[in-house]
Amino acid sequence: MQYVPYLLAGISVGGQYALIAIGYTMVYGILRLINFAHGDIFMAAGLMMIYLANPLTLWLAVPLVILFTAVLGFAVERAAYKPLRDAPRMSVMISAIGVSYLVQNVALYVTGGLAKTYPSLPWISDTITILGATTKRVTVITPVLTVVLIVGLVILIKKTKIGMAMRAVSRDFETSRLMGIKINTVISVTFLIGSLLAAVGSLLYFANYTAIVPTSGAMPGLKAFVAAVFGGIGSIPGAVIGAFLIGLSENIIKSGGSSWTTFSDAFTFVLLIIILAVKPTGLFGEKQTDKV
């Protein structure tokens, strides 16, 4: 059973990607914006944990990290995307890239360019043995927690008023606006939820790593975005399935030996190109015909 650790790691990483991917897919669904800064907000959550875990007890630090990350996501939207609501799409994407650049550089400044050691979280980081494979407890917690959070999110979107507004806005932005839906509230809530999930994902993801650098968020962020595209951007179940698929496949590639590890990152993008070439709308995406 030499593959068990890789499969476990795959499922775990997949869950973490899923939590980030939801932020991408929801924002894209509503604003048609690739939020290039989302991965950096995820990284920022990791850094906050490092700086808060030391002076505070862990049980206070965790909710604060989640709260601050959500606020950060909200603030980024208000400061950098809202002023460009009626600007061409390219401008907003450039603004997202600018935010990504800013967050990374602030992180570089704050950390002084040194890799920061991630605190070892008690219980979560404990070592356990499953099916003969030794792993951290986080590996098992992640998929469970992911599923619980996503079920909660789906209920929120299906059953609540704000959820209905979100669905309406992602269907037709302009009409929803005319119908009196408070567009800015909906968008803010979307960013709050997306960043909150990214913060949870960050706690789980970095528990497997010893240290964080300012660019730590870029790669998981990109992969989560690919997961969202793969599943059909705008679709939450699609993003989750895409994320697990990417998590699993990159770990299966890693099991092939050290010379293949280089390709575990690249494979994600091969997957992206394949899905875009074969079915550009993703697994669960809806076909759109443009008006002429």
């Binding site: 390219m90 603004s95 550089n105």
Partner: protein
Amino acid sequence: MTKRQKIISVILLALVYAAVFVMEQVIPAQAMLFTVLKKGAIYALVAVSMNLLNGFTGLFSLGQAGFMLIGAYVYGIFTIPTEMRTSVYQYFDGGVIQFTVPVLLAIVLAGVAAAIAAALIGFPALRLKSDYLAIATLGFAEILRAIFQWDKLGPVTNGSNLLRKFPTFNDFNITNADGDVVIYLSTLVPFLIVGVCIFLIVLLINSSYGRVFRAIRDDERAAEAMGVNLFAHKEISFVVSSFFAGIGGALLAMYQMTIQASAFKSAMTYEILLIVVIGGIGSVTGSCIGSFLFIAASEWWLRGLDSGTFLGITAPTIFRSGFRKVVFAVIIMVIVLFYRKGLMGDKEFSVARIAGRFRRLFRRRAPAEKGATK
């Protein structure tokens, strides 16, 4: 442009080149000025090539770093002197390639290799909607980075190890028998290469093809209804842009003296994009001016922000390593949010415009003076 304006423009350009040549002979080669001039010129070329895609064709592509990587590697692989190869490729028995090509040919090959890669990538990627194109090209750049670091390709790419000992800008200097430099050309030659490349891009933009690119940017459907084969023209723009990005990569390798795949990250693409935005999306001269400003600010003018003292203010706790980049990023966000047109908008810096501005200035002032004398 009238004939006279054309002549004035040519003279101005010649003066710039002459100034570069003279400065190079009289100012010590280590001066920060030359760092800015060399790197600024390279980034100007890459920014203009990106502008061709993003600004003139309306394709939001983020693959620039990937094509520069190809260019840098192709240049390095074909120019490292054969006698140096055993030490450079020390883990790969000196590598498989045991010949070199002349420097200028290698630079062209660098562009060609990047162009071929772009042509292949274009097939799946250019059929996508614009924002998917951004992520697909970003993804391709990542794949390229992984491939070039793969140890199975080590005999060609040196795996994750540095490529070095290939000819650099300093090899353009003319030396005497003792090895002392007689004439400095290490800034002028890259300036000339970049100048020729940008001139070619400008010619393309002003040709029938350039018009079609702008038509595609303005309205794809209408362009198609005018008989424009969308895919073919997007592919041309993409391939040409990548060709010059590849040349830019080769020049960057010469400037940095070493090549490592891990340096060509998406952050590099982002910086180039931000240069384009600062200069103005759709303005060639804007990209050039933006590039020199960007490099001068980040490498030179704002350096004090990193080392304790800036504008006479000493505050080591704030002005420490990395602060420069924070300030810089804030400036960029301000431009992105409040000065979306950048320096030039989609206009070009030209003699005619400057002349027109002066004329207007004087016309406005003349009656005012009259009023004052009354």
